[in-house]
Each structure stands twice: as C-alpha cells, then as structure tokens.
Amino acid sequence: MSLDAVRNSELLVDLSDEEMAPLVAASSEVRFAAGEVIFEEDGVAETFYLIVHGKVGLELTSPGGAPLVIQTLRDGEMVGVSWFFPPYVWEWRARALTETSAIAFDAEQVREQCKERCELERQLLRSIAKAAAVRLHNSRTQLLDLYGSRR
C-alpha cells in the first residue's frame, strides 16, 4: 500500500509520513462490485474505508421497503466514522453503487495505534470531526427541502 494512495484523501492531508506509517501498516487494497454490500447497519465497525475510485451509498434499511440512500460518497471520502467511537457499531449500511476500489483499514489496529500516538489520534479526530461537520451541514440543507414547492 503506497503512502500516496492514503494521502490522496483530503481527510488525511495533514498527517506527516511518520504519523501515516501506522495507518499504512493497517491498510490493504480492496475492490467492490457494483451492488456489493460493504458493511451492514448494526454491524461491528471493524474495518473502515477510503474510496480510491467509485461511488458508495450510505443506506437506511427498513422492513418491507427498498433501502433508502441518504448520501453518496465518492473518491477520497471516508466510508464510516463509527469505527472511531464506542460502541463501534455501524449506523448505516454501505453499498457500492458502482465498481469501487478502496483502501481498507483495520479499525482495531488503528485504534490501538491511537492509544500510543497522541498526534495520530488528534489528527484523525480532527479529520473525522471535519467530515462529520460537513455531513451535518449538508444534512440540514437537505432537510430544508430547498427545491420544494413554495405554494
């Protein structure tokens, strides 16, 4: 796994090579076919992903209905943030909407590294908080139903 592939993500852009080394050691390249489920809602968050190329949908499932895509993620974005916070359980289902290549990270290994490396933990926390803030802002905007009728 090359450092460049990991660094391509905006989320990890502030990490130095030294800080990134344990992340690289915990990573592997993976591919998902279009339609393949990456992880399930309520599943244990043992692996998280950075999309290299492709499109992933975060879905909410309900009995008797088709899954509802609430957001799509594309190149350079992180799939899943629940791996960082107890109880380490996915809140959504993630599914590849197109053939997708990604970098998979062993979440437990990264969490263990964070216990020993404060700077790595701080940078990851900052990156995840930034991504979460953007997604919260976007979700609020979606809730406004801006394009709805003004009648």
Binding site: V69, T72, Y147
Partner: protein, 282 residues
C-alpha cells in the same frame, strides 16, 4: 433631480405582444416547458439569463426566465405551477395565447467567461435560466476552457430536461454531475447537496467564472463553497428572483436594497449582494 421615463418607451414596454403556444411538455409533476411563436412574426432576441413578463389573459402577469429560443427557434419557457397565473400558463393547450413583454434585465456574463473555465451550478427549476447558457456553450465550445454543469434537485422524478441532460453528458465536452436530495431504489446517481459535486469537477479557481441559479440559500452555499475553493466572489454570478411587476425599473416591487432586480439584475455578481443575502425580509 428626478428623471422620468419617456412615455412612448413606457407605453411600448408595458404592451404585451400575443404569442401562441406551439408545444407543451410536462417536465415534472408541476413544471411544464412551453414553446411560443409570435403572432406578428417578429421573434424575441434575448441574452441568456434575461426574463420576460408572461401574461395569462384575464388572470395576471408573471416574470419567467427565458429557457431557450435561438434564432429561428420558438421562445422557450419552463414554468412551475405555483399560483393562479402560473397554473393558467401551464394549463395552456397548444394553440393557446399568452401576452409577452420583454426580454428584460441583465443576463449571464458570457463574454466575461470567454477563455476561462466555466462552472454552471443549478438547483431545482434554476436549471431553466441556465439552459440557454449550456446551449450557448455547445454552440461555441472552443471559446471556453473546461465547462462543468452541477445540478441538484429534490428527487429523480423532478429532474428538468432529462433527455437533454443525457445528451449533454454523452458529448463528453462538458462535465455533467447531478445529485438529488432524496432517491428511490432505482436511482444510481448521487444523493446529497449540490456542493458535494464541486470537488468532483475540473476548474482552475483563479481562472473561473461561475453562474449559479436556484433557491437563494442554495446560491449562497454554492458561492461560499466556490469561494472556499479559491474562486473570487466577483467571478461568481447569481440570478435573483423577486416580485417583478413592470420589468423596467419603474414600479419598485422588486427592490432589493438599492437595486431593482428587474433592471439591475436578475443576474448580478455575488460580491455585490453577498452582504444583503443574510438580511432578513429584504
């Protein structure tokens, strides 16, 4: 000193010309695209981004952006039925008559974009005033650098110009990215806000003109995101919508701060209005 518009000019500008509906197509549940031919045979020449006042006889008059109508083509308007006048216009059959005044206002700064990258960002029915920009770009593709259209709407069933979107995308000479706020299971495109699309398109922020049209909150958010990516606010243009009545800057119904949107807009640099876009009830 006060100035008074010449009476002849006012009389001419306030007189609707009859146009006949020559085609009508339903775009979404409440939105229709109509094409009109002038009864007197004299076509309207316009700049992309300008608007006309459409008069539904016996009902009332509304400002509607021009969606298309190059030389030799019918005048095209895309209208959303949101009230008595727009309901009446949308329900006009082929052969029906409307009154048309205009075109009015300032359009998109296409000359300013020549030689530069162009970002076209549309939200909902905001694609209608930008459609003629896209058509102009295809007609004059070599005048521009990279050109991208990002379009966000409520749901897949509320996409405007679906066939044209497919055609535009298939040309590969402009980037076309579409997202929806809510998707059904059949949708394999993007879900999320239109600003999510900006990191995925190609443009040089220092050499880019952006044209943005949609709900004002959407335009503000897109302009800010473009600013965060390095595009100067005076290179971002937005199209304002207010209660235009006369269309020629006389009545004041469309006043927005010191400007009359019908005369000084509807297309304005974001830099000139950004401070006003956070003022309540303005």
């Amino acid at each position: 000193m006060t100035t008074t518009a010449a009476p002849e000019f006012v009389a001419e500008a306030m007189l609707p010309r009859p146009f006949r509906v020559v085609s009508r197509r339903q775009e979404t549940g409440d939105t229709f695209t109509l094409e009109f031919e002038p009864e007197d045979g004299v076509p309207i020449t316009y700049d992309p981004g300008q608007f006309t006042m459409l008069y539904a006889f016996g009902v009332g008059e509304v400002p509607i952006s021009i969606a298309g109508g190059r030389a030799g083509e019918p005048l095209m308007h895309t209208v959303r039925a949101v009230g008595a006048v727009t309901d009446a216009i949308c329900n006009l059959p082929e052969g029906g008559l409307v009154g048309v005044r205009g075109p009015y206002g300032k359009g998109w700064p296409l000359q300013r974009a020549v030689g530069k990258d162009l970002v076209i960002a549309a939200g909902g029915i905001g694609l209608a005033p930008l459609r003629s920009v896209v058509v102009h770009v295809f007609d004059n593709r070599d005048q521009f650098g990279s050109v991208s259209l990002v379009y966000g709407t409520r749901s897949p069933s509320e996409l405007l110009y679906e066939e044209e979107l497919r055609w535009w995308r298939s040309r590969f000479s402009i980037e076309v990215e579409v997202t929806v706020d809510r998707a059904d299971a059949a949708w394999y495109g993007d879900v999320g806000v239109v600003t999510n699309l900006l990191p995925r398109i190609t443009f040089d922020p220092a050499n880019t003109v952006a044209m943005v049209c949609g709900p004002e909150i959407m335009m503000k958010v897109v302009a800010r995101e473009l600013g965060a990516r390095g595009v100067e606010s005076d290179e971002v243009f937005v199209s304002l919508e207010r209660n235009m009545k006369c269309g020629i800057g006389l009545c004041g119904h469309c006043q927005f701060g010191a400007d009359f949107v019908c005369r000084d807009g509807p297309v304005v640099p974001f830099a000139s209005v950004m401070n006003r876009m956070t003022v309540e009830e303005l």
